[in-house]
Point group: C2
Chain length 291, copies 2
């Protein structure tokens, strides 16, 4: 599965980009630049895994995987802009606006978002999964990516930058910023296979658990690596300007939470007839990761 889904996602991504011979060549080049700097393709993997678990067509999964990856990529381009995080680097390469300029980077992000919905609703995708599944997939992605989903999470993050946010704000922010797009990926895998309602609910529960666990694990890794660098005992108290799960709950409680969420995610996989081994292993891998 592993190499297959990466190759299928990337080939579908680049097939869908317009001909670089057009007058907007610089825009297309900028979109391609960020799509190529693709990291581990966690979201496409989840789309393919759930699609396979529900007995779906891998070509339908490829269209859905592309759409989720395009939304993820657009959000990274806009996040790096000077008016947001002002990051010069993304995954070790110069960020999009450092290469193409802020104006083109802004428009490349905009066009990637549009393209996500174009690919989910085109005739080719409809021939693979049907009109109703296309509509549901587009709607699901829009709900999780929009004002009360991923973008909403970014706003909560901006608003709580200089305050010690309480745990419920942190939970809502992480749920929206990170878990929502993970949920979209898992649910689109099911939708692209015309799964049942019960399967969709199980995928959604799995996604929410690993999405939140992922974020807590990130906070643990940030904290323990900082402590090790500073030569302090791991998890010792320190003042942070911004709340994290670790600053609010401590390292030990966070580790317990990650384990509980991982077990709950694995439990949700019981709703599927096929063997969910690969998704079970994926949840365990995420919880055990060291970076």
């Amino acid at each position: 599965m592993k190499n297959d889904y990466i190759a299928m996602t990337e080939s579908a991504l680049f097939d869908f980009l317009p001909d670089p011979g057009c007058r907007e060549a610089k825009l297309i080049e900028s979109m391609r630049y960020s799509l190529e700097a693709g990291g581990k393709r966690v979201r496409p993997r989840l789309v393919f895994e759930f699609n396979a678990l529900c007995g779906g067509d891998p070509d339908a999964a490829a269209a859905a995987a592309c759409a989720v990856e395009m939304i993820h990529t657009y959000s990274l381009i806009h996040d790096d802009l000077p008016c947001m995080d002002d990051d010069d680097l993304r995954r070790g390469k110069p960020s999009n606006h450092r290469v193409f300029g802020e104006d083109i980077a802004l428009l490349a992000g905009d066009a990637l978002q549009t393209m996500a919905f174009e690919i989910l609703t085109c005739d080719k995708t409809a021939a693979l999964m049907g009109d109703r599944a296309c509509r549901l997939a587009a709607n699901t992605l829009a709900r999780y990516a929009g004002a009360t989903g991923m973008v909403g999470g970014q706003v909560i993050d901006l608003m709580s930058e200089n305050i010690n946010a309480p745990i419920e704000v942190l939970r809502e922010m992480d749920y929206k910023k990170t878990a929502c797009l993970i949920k979209a990926a898992c649910e689109l895998g099911c939708i692209s296979a015309n799964a049942t309602e019960a399967q969709l609910r199980a995928a959604s529960e799995y996604a929410e658990c690993i999405g939140v666990a992922f974020q807590i694990q990130d906070d643990i890794l940030d904290r323990t690596s900082t402590d090790e660098e500073l030569g302090k005992p791991v998890g010792s108290d320190c003042e942070n300007s911004k709340s994290t799960y670790v600053s609010l709950l401590g390292v030990e409680k966070c580790r317990v939470l990650v384990d509980e969420l991982t077990q709950k995610a694995i439990g949700a996989l019981g709703a599927f007839d096929k063997d969910p081994r690969s998704l079970r292993e994926f949840a365990l891998e995420l919880a055990a990761r060291k970076n």
Copy 2:
């Protein structure tokens, strides 16, 4: 029709915005701010007119009209940002980022685009126009709004800012920047009424003609008002840093073109059984406008 469609569009727009009591309240307020500053609602009007001409349900037209207006609004917010046109004012009011900051304005534009696709694909819209029409509407809007449509036109505009672009570049830029979203509006009016292929083609031709005529008329009005201010004979030669239809063809030839395109648009309306009086008058109004 006129007051009805404005009231129906605005009520549907504001109904669809999330509860302002959420943690992302500032984002919702920023989205609402720009949606309220709505101008003449030309695109919603076209959606309603074509929907009625094809015998469609006005509630289906309202959903489609909202989606097109959300795309138009997001493009204006992003266009005004400092990295693009850096405009402090939009329709006489402070531009979105002047009120809410660049970060929130960027995200409000992003979330408005997402919401356009959410409204076109939600269960309520599907109950009004069917799964297939929802999918086609979302796909049509995405194609006209994206990398080879509206956003593509903005890129061509950026690339030709300091050069005397030849007529074919100007034509492609104006077609994409302006006419594409007009086409989306007219076609979505038809799609929301489950119109025939022939009706869809006729709406598309009407839209392209009035879209291009609109842009040429804009160039004429810019030039003649400038000449009048400067006390020069209307249409006399002057050096401009940027090509326009008038600088390339002269005022007289442009006036002939606007008339030809308007007559062609009106001709396309012959494909409809119902009386297209209102759309005929609209084409003539646009061609005769003085501002």
